[in-house]
Subunit: 213 residues, 2 copies
């Protein structure tokens, strides 16, 4: 693909917006008006270049016979993720069961872009309740994407259940010689040290999504 001229970029752009808006392709004269081009032949000229460079495909002698090639390749199918419950400081963390995995049974589903969860499996989501995770830079109402694992590697962010304190928290986990260090994501905060048999890894955090208002 060669470099496009400014006018050609404008044309591609216009076709894209036109298609989203009207859901049928623009005519040559639509493009002419939309891109403030002086002549239809100039539009035709540049469309031919765009086709030669592989950005569009044209159908000869068919009105509005323009197909955008770039657009089709981008959209990858999203992955449905079940939201199986809440995570709050004082409550046990919900753990996925065969039932909650079921797409039809889950109370709420979230469509996540495939690139966010990559090739990972056993993904579920929790909604954060309360302000207890602000030290992990996680707000009330945020959605936490989790992977169901029972052990994590050093430095990974995990959902941790502190048995004695009966408290759920999201921290980076570092296994040290005699105990486990739980480090908040916010580096300005102090870490917590816990004994190995007092913690239970409930899952690994792979993403956080916050929708505002």
């Amino acid at each position: 693909m060669k470099k496009l001229s400014d006018k050609q970029r404008r044309i591609i752009n216009f076709i894209d917006r036109f298609l989203v808006d009207k859901s049928y392709p623009p005519s040559i004269r639509d493009i002419q008006a939309g891109c403030k081009i002086s002549s239809t032949s100039v539009v035709d000229y540049n469309l031919n270049i765009l086709e030669r460079e592989g950005y569009i495909r044209r159908h000869a002698e068919v009105s509005r016979g323009i197909k955008l090639l770039s657009r089709t390749s981008t959209s990858e199918s999203p992955v449905p993720v079940p939201v199986i419950g809440l995570i709050a400081a004082g409550e046990p963390i919900p753990v996925p069961t065969p039932d909650t995995w079921n797409v039809t049974v889950a109370a709420e589903m979230l469509e996540m872009p495939r690139e966010l969860i990559r090739s990972k499996e056993d993904i579920y989501a929790l909604r954060v309740k309360g302000m207890s995770m602000v030290d992990a830079l996680i707000n009330d109402g945020d959605i936490v994407l989790m992977q169901y694992v029972s052990a994590v590697e050093n430095g990974e962010m995990a959902a941790v259940w502190l048995k004695a304190e009966k408290e759920a928290t999201l921290k980076k986990v570092y296994i040290e010689s005699d105990c486990v260090r739980l480090q908040p994501a916010n580096s300005q905060m102090r870490p917590i040290y816990a004994e190995s048999d007092n913690i239970e890894i409930q899952g690994r955090v792979i993403a956080v999504v916050r929708q505002i208002t």
Copy 2:
């Protein structure tokens, strides 16, 4: 929606197949040939019924101006969002230009679930650089989804450029009698008060996405 006649079902079906195949809508005479209908007026007649019943939408006097409404699959497909740059404390906030909107030209694209951005338009994304937004519970490396607006309502989270300080920040904006109050999302932090002509609203924050590791 009333029950459709056999002919009308064939027409809908044909439009659907035609769109998938050619990616532009059929003309009246395409439908006539494809559905073996004797007259263009019959096609026109039935298309009007299909529009009245809510199956399609027609644009008057526009060739191939047919939009299939029943294809709801599009409403769940992910929305491509261009990542147009970085947002950091000491650097001006990138503002989308017609070029950066372009799907094919943008350096990086993000596929976002449609429900996250709802029906909003003019969406772009910025990658956060540095720890200066921790008071908004936003970490280094987070992706901020923005909507391009020049003014925000009271209490909305916005990207604000402080002219005198030459500083970019994400804060909740409250317009008060004599000045503007910039409130961090983390309610434990103190607000900043700025004069109206010292701030520039660069966009509205609609979501934050954090990918961990």
